[in-house]
């Protein structure tokens, strides 16, 4: 039995074992995309590269057999750089959106496509969970939001955006009207106490998410009741008071304490809060420069100065968000700020090093070429965009909501949570735009009853070919062409349905990306991935 070292750690494995197998014994995770146990290594993706001491160049761990005395380098900067380059090259030729355009358009980055699929499946109980993961005041926003998400909707370019905002409101209203509205679970008490100054959209949102982390949260509000600028700037016609109160009520219901009629007057009040609490978040709305400075904080022309990655002010333990830092902004921006600031405060309280607010990893198609949207339309509900029958103020009825939600084009990836390319791309810090080239056409083949084939997402690993062959598919799959233009195809241009009879499910399971994916999937949230938020 040969003995070798990987990163100076010794391991003995049976003769004939691969470096990948030896690494597994040591608990070293070498990334692979094209490798699947039980099948021939295709040495195609080359993400599993390692370096052998005393040899030029790199070798794939999946197919290189160990030898006695071999010295392997795996977790070194040099090897990681090669793996990252492999990932970046694959990503440069990977046509798709991990996350849908609406995800990026929404300041709160709500998982809109998932909510829409849950609505079209009439799974409202999970839809509210999806909504409230990112938006603490959906019934409010469903009435006051200027809907940036709908401007980002791909269907805007065809027959009108999906009515995302109304649908979110539908979900929230339904929840509020139910006997037991959704209350999120809170983590066990951490013993940490947070003071939030201001019960407007920012403060309420922050309170909601900080409480869920197990912290004790007290909101100090200068006015007699919570709501902040929602009370001052929005008419009751647009936002009925009972809707606002009910939604605030659900935030307080998880154990958030509200201290009305208490104003932060000066530096002393703030210092007192700092002494009494482990962290302070200023969510007081727009403030002028002199007020900020009177609190002993540095100011910008718009308000409180913060580190935009961590929401920290110039004083340790004091955070600020919402219009307190922006002066003026959309309500949805404030709600998003509250959520992001809550995450930053939580990081601070846990004693973890303050880190930049991580963006979710995503490849993006960008602008579609003429005709490409037809690929998406072909698989979505064909109904036109409609206003609610009972008028805008009334909102959607259930049947309307289902019809409208099924207009979603499913721009987000079908394999969001199990795409290995995304997982390792994120893990290795790959930049999908490093090698920008001419983009291949967006194609989606949906002729198979179970499976969607998106050649633009294929990394040409050939696993599906091997699997179809092993299943004895009479037609099967094959590589067509060669070089950069090689793709997986069905012999004689026949249909995917003919090619994949028995093997379809296994091919989908083995596919390292979403090139082969099930038509119906992802009714559960797969976000976040790798430390997002």
């Amino acid at each position: 039995m040969p003995t070798l070292t990987i990163d100076q750690r010794e391991v003995t494995v049976p003769a004939g074992a691969t470096i990948l197998e030896a690494a597994e014994r040591l608990g070293i995770e070498i990334p692979t995309l094209c490798f699947l146990r039980g099948y021939e290594p295709s040495t195609s993706c080359l993400v599993c590269m390692v370096k052998l001491r005393g040899r030029n160049g790199f070798v794939p761990a999946c197919a290189t057999r160990v030898a006695d005395g071999m010295q392997v380098e795996s977790e070194t900067a040099e090897v990681h750089q090669v793996r990252r380059t492999a990932l970046e090259l694959l990503l440069s030729d990977h046509v798709g959106d991990c996350l849908a355009p609406c995800h990026f358009a929404c300041p709160a980055h709500m998982d809109i496509p998932l909510m829409l699929r849950q609505i079209s499946a009439e799974n409202y109980a999970e839809a509210i969970v999806t909504v409230k993961r990112d938006i603490a005041l959906p019934a409010v926003l469903g009435r006051v939001c200027p809907k940036p998400c709908e401007k980002g909707c791909r269907r805007n370019a065809a027959d009108g955006a999906v009515a995302v905002c109304q649908l979110k409101r539908f979900v929230a209203d339904l929840d509020l009207a139910s006997q037991r509205p959704f209350l999120p679970e809170c983590r066990p008490d951490t013993g940490k106490r947070v003071a939030i100054v201001g019960a407007g959209p920012t403060g309420l949102s922050a309170a909601y998410y900080l409480r869920q982390k197990g912290h004790a949260v007290t909101v100090f509000e200068a006015q007699e009741c919570a709501g902040g600028r929602l009370l001052r700037e929005v008419g009751e016609e647009e936002l009925p008071r009972d809707v606002l109160d009910a939604e605030i009520g659900l935030i307080l219901a998880i154990g958030v304490e509200l201290n009305p009629s208490s104003r932060v007057e000066d530096r002393q009040t703030l210092d007192d809060l700092r002494n009494d609490f482990d962290a302070v978040l200023l969510a007081c709305g727009a403030v002028d420069k002199s007020t900020v400075e009177s609190w002993g904080l540095r100011a910008t022309p718009r308000g409180v100065q913060i580190d935009k990655d961590t929401y920290q002010t110039s004083v340790s333990g004091v955070f600020a968000a919402g219009n307190a830092i922006r002066g003026k902004g959309l309500v949805v921006r404030s709600v998003a700020d509250g959520k992001e600031a809550a995450a930053a405060v939580d990081t601070f309280l846990a004693g973890r090093p303050a880190s930049a607010h991580e963006r979710a990893f995503s490849v993006r198609i960008g602008r579609l070429e003429d005709g490409e949207i037809d690929q998406f339309l072909a698989m979505a509900g064909s109904a036109p965009r409609r206003e609610p029958l009972q008028g805008l103020a009334g909102g959607f009825l259930s049947e309307e909501a289902v019809e409208q939600a099924s207009r979603c084009l499913h721009c987000d990836c079908r394999a969001l949570g199990n795409c290995k390319l995304r997982r390792y791309g994120s893990q290795y810090g790959a930049d999908p735009n490093r090698f920008r080239g001419e983009r291949a056409a967006v194609r989606q083949y949906a002729d198979h009853p179970l499976v969607v084939y998106e050649p633009g997402k294929c990394i040409d690993c050939g696993l599906c070919i091997q699997i179809a062959t092993r299943h004895g598919e009479p037609l099967g799959l094959t590589f067509v062409g060669r070089g950069f233009d090689v793709r997986i195809g069905v012999p004689f241009n026949r249909s995917l349905e003919e090619a994949l009879g028995k093997a379809a499910a296994e091919c989908v399971a083995a596919c390292p990306t979403a090139a082969l994916a099930l038509k119906k999937e992802r009714l559960r949230s797969e976000l976040p991935i790798l430390g997002q938020r």
């Binding site: 440069s92 090698f435 062409g481 070089g483 004689f492």
Partner: protein, 805 residues
């Protein structure tokens, strides 16, 4: 004919309106049944079956492929995968005539792109299409027709046109159509009966000679001999190597010195014959001259064409060309009829094999090869003896010996010449190798673009079998060896040994990870020896003259000789064999006669797409594996392309990268996508869109692709880029600044007419884009919007008034 990818038509099939993709209704499939009957039903018969179908139908009708799957073990997945992998195969019908435009290195530096543009423009073929609206002409790019000394070259069906310029395109097409209309007259030959001492008239019939018209010269000579009864025989011989002088005719009288005639035309042939051999009988002589005179009166021929072409073998130029050479692999070049076994044997042929069988043990043979210092001539330079030893030591009763004749480097045609000219020598070398390693079966893998090589090797194998030099009892001993030929199908990557083996097995030519090396697990999983053509060709010489005689040539680590194809901007291009250790300068200046046309020698590209360039200041670098690698080039298979100051090094690097990128099998990420992204950056730089940081990004990516690709193709693909970045970084930087110093990159240059213009309107008449208005007696001007930078105006201007800026 060299480079003919598609065999001649048997019938006229054009795409029609109702079958746009050429699925001609009701294809008669009986041919498929016959082909399968002939070629077998096993899965590894796939490539020969596809070749046969394509030869018959001129493309691969889907019905025919489906029929193959019904009749054989070949699956639909396999037939689709294989038929789309190799560029030889077409899934759509071709036009009536096929124009092959050579994109070899020599053609590239001499402007083949401009010729192709002119062809497309003239035939009205739009971007992305390859056939004109009438389905009359199909244009295809070919990697290299191997006529590098005639560059740029195109081939229309079987006619080759060389030394083209864009402005010649209409004339060439007209000439071709005239030739078609007249119907190429085939001459009847009568054999000359040998009686009394006869002289020999040797006509070079290598592919490049044929391309240059030596076939017609031979016909003319035969005709003259038949008509006059002159006492000589015509003998076809292999390549002489002096491609810059083709067609070559050597007169070897029964007694007296030989005379060499260069650039002989069919018209000159009779004079050459009659000058050297007196016809029998005065009457016939007179009668012959009389008819020739009448012929001349009816045609426009003037003067005596012979004088211009006479070359003395002792002529200084010839001496310089041949002087530094040492012919080992190419021994007796230009003297043998390539397929005449008796002649080969009369000159020591099969002597080495006989000795090995009679006197040597396998160990002794390998020892001799080891001692000679022979290293693989395919490019990498692995010690041959060590390789043989590894195969010999590998376990198992079944072993194979394979000759890698998939020479694919554009600008290299050494192996083709050796295959065409010395088939028996390679067979003998392979037989010795087979005996040494214990193989009983072997294959020649020869690229499909070399039909003449395939034909000669096939013929030679047949002769050897008849004479007991191959077969179950080689030379009457117990040694058994059967050889056969496998034709490639248009995939450069199949020169990589594991891809070559996959191709012989009837699969897509995808390389696989080594180890295991073929020596351990090769063809059909058995130990296999794969050597290059030239390597085998050297083996008989080594065993005949001894390892020490071989090792006496060359340098410490690079022994013996190396064959090179010398082309590009050189006065005397051709095939040469030199001892290792000569300097690049000696090759270029002494053998090649220096750079042509009064230009400045800038660099020589060595080793083709896997190699790099040796700049002028390093011209004293020796031809030696290590010395070349040290300066960033490689020995490679032996293409030497000389570049002068009018060549853009960035463009050259991009040219090679485009080639390898196009030839990538597509298996591994670094090669499939990495070379493409490198090319994207190169394209950007050449078109004026380069950005700061592009060179660093290019360099970093090049290093990663070079160190992490799976096979040699990917690992060496960045070399041309890295080597030009090393020596000519200033040219890259000039491109980033929007300037192409050599004036080659179309997007960075403009044509202007200066005050020297005499207003003759020739440029205006010849401009294919109508970019120059007709202004007689006034200075012309170029409309830069319309100008396609085809260079025609500059070439035709009698006053030298067209400038590139």
């Amino acid at each position: 004919m060299a480079g003919t990818l598609i065999a001649p038509a048997t019938e006229d099939r054009r795409p029609t309106a109702d079958s746009p993709h050429g699925q001609a209704a009701g294809v008669d499939l009986s041919f498929v049944d016959q082909a399968v009957e002939r070629l077998g039903r096993r899965a590894d018969a796939i490539i020969p079956i596809l070749q046969s179908i394509q030869q018959h139908y001129r493309y691969l009708p889907q019905e025919a492929l489906e029929r193959v799957c019904q009749l054989t073990e070949i699956t639909p997945a396999a037939i689709t995968g294989v038929s789309t992998f190799y560029t030889q195969f077409r899934h759509r019908p071709v036009g009536k005539h096929l124009i092959s435009v050579c994109h070899g290195t020599a053609c590239h530096v001499k402007g083949t792109e401009l010729v192709q543009d002119a062809l497309e423009h003239h035939l009205g073929i739009h971007k992305g299409e390859d056939t004109d609206a009438d389905g009359f002409f199909t244009i295809q790019k070919v990697a290299c027709l191997g006529c590098c000394t005639l560059a740029p070259v195109i081939q229309i069906d079987e006619l080759t046109y060389g030394r083209l310029t864009p402005s010649m395109v209409p004339d060439v097409l007209r000439d071709f159509l005239d030739h078609e209309a007249n119907g190429a007259a085939k001459h009847e030959h009568r054999a000359v009966s040998p009686s009394g001492p006869l002289g020999e008239i040797r006509v070079g019939l290598g592919s490049c000679c044929v391309a240059q018209g030596s076939g017609k010269v031979r016909d003319a000579i035969s005709e003259t001999l038949a008509a006059t009864g002159a006492p000589a025989v015509v003998k076809r011989v292999g390549c002489v190597g002096m491609c810059h002088q083709t067609p070559l005719v050597e007169i070897v009288p029964a007694s007296g010195p030989a005379r060499l005639y260069s650039r002989v035309t069919p018209d000159a042939a009779p004079s050459i014959v009659l000058e050297n051999f007196r016809p029998k009988g005065l009457l016939r002589q007179l009668a012959y001259y009389a008819t020739r005179m009448l012929d001349r009166l009816h045609s426009d021929e003037t003067g005596d064409p012979v004088e211009r072409h006479a070359l003395n073998v002792r002529d200084a130029q010839v001496c310089a060309f041949l002087g530094r050479q040492q012919h080992l692999a190419t021994q007796y070049c230009g003297q043998f009829d390539p397929t005449d076994l008796k002649e080969y044997q009369a000159h020591g042929g099969f002597e080495a094999l006989r000795r090995c069988l009679a006197e040597f043990t396998p160990e002794r043979i390998i020892q001799e090869i080891r001692a000679s210092g022979l290293r693989g001539r395919g490019g990498a330079g692995f010690p041959t003896g060590q390789k043989w030893d590894a195969v010999r030591a590998a376990a198992g009763p079944t072993k194979y010996v394979i000759c890698n004749g998939d020479e694919g480097d554009p600008g290299a045609f050494m192996d083709r010449m050796i295959l065409e000219s010395f088939p028996y020598r390679i067979i003998e070398g392979m037989a010795i190798a087979a005996m040494a390693i214990g193989a009983g079966e072997g294959y020649f893998y020869i690229r499909a673009e070399y039909p003449l090589a395939v034909q000669r090797i096939t013929e030679a194998i047949g002769r050897c079998r008849e004479e007991g030099l191959l077969g179950d009892r080689v030379m009457g001993t117990d040694f058994r060896l059967n050889l056969s030929v496998k034709e490639g199908a248009g995939a450069f990557v199949c020169g990589e040994e594991t891809a070559l083996l996959a191709s012989i097995e009837g699969q897509r030519g995808m390389p696989r990870l080594r180890p295991p090396y073929p020596a351990e697990s090769g063809l059909r999983g058995k130990p296999t020896l794969v050597n290059n053509v030239e390597t085998y060709a050297l083996v008989p010489w080594i065993l005949r003259h001894g390892s020490q005689a071989f090792a006496a040539f060359g340098t410490e680590r690079s022994r013996g000789t190396k064959v090179f194809a010398l082309a590009g901007k050189i006065r005397r291009g051709g095939l040469i064999e030199v001892p290792m250790g000569v300097t690049v300068r000696e090759i270029i200046e002494e053998i090649g006669g220096g750079v042509a046309g009064g230009k400045q020698f800038k660099a020589v590209q060595v080793g083709g797409p896997s190699g790099g360039c040796v700049p002028a200041e390093l011209a004293d670098t020796r031809v030696d594996y290590e010395a070349l690698t040290e300066v960033g080039a490689i020995m490679g298979s032996g293409g030497l392309v000389v570049l002068d100051d009018s060549d853009c090094m960035v463009d050259i690097a991009r040219y090679f990268l485009r080639f390898t990128q196009d030839q990538s099998c597509g298996k591994c990420t670094f090669c499939r996508i990495g070379t493409r992204r490198m090319l994207d950056i190169m394209d950007r730089i050449c078109s004026g869109g380069g950005k700061r940081g592009d060179l660093e990004e290019l360099e970093e990516l090049a290093h990663t692709v070079g160190s992490a690709s799976i096979c040699g193709l990917g690992r060496t693909a960045p070399n041309p880029v890295l080597s030009t970045l090393r020596y000519f970084r200033d040219e890259y930087e000039a491109h980033l600044a929007g300037r192409c110093p050599a004036g080659k990159c179309k997007d960075l240059i403009e044509y202007r007419i200066n005050e020297k213009c005499i207003g003759c309107t020739i440029c205006a008449q010849r401009c294919p884009a109508d970019a120059i208005p007709m202004t007689p007696y006034a200075r012309h001007a170029i409309d830069l919007e319309k100008c396609t930078r085809c260079d025609t105006c500059r070439q035709v201007c009698p006053a030298g008034a067209v400038m590139i800026q």
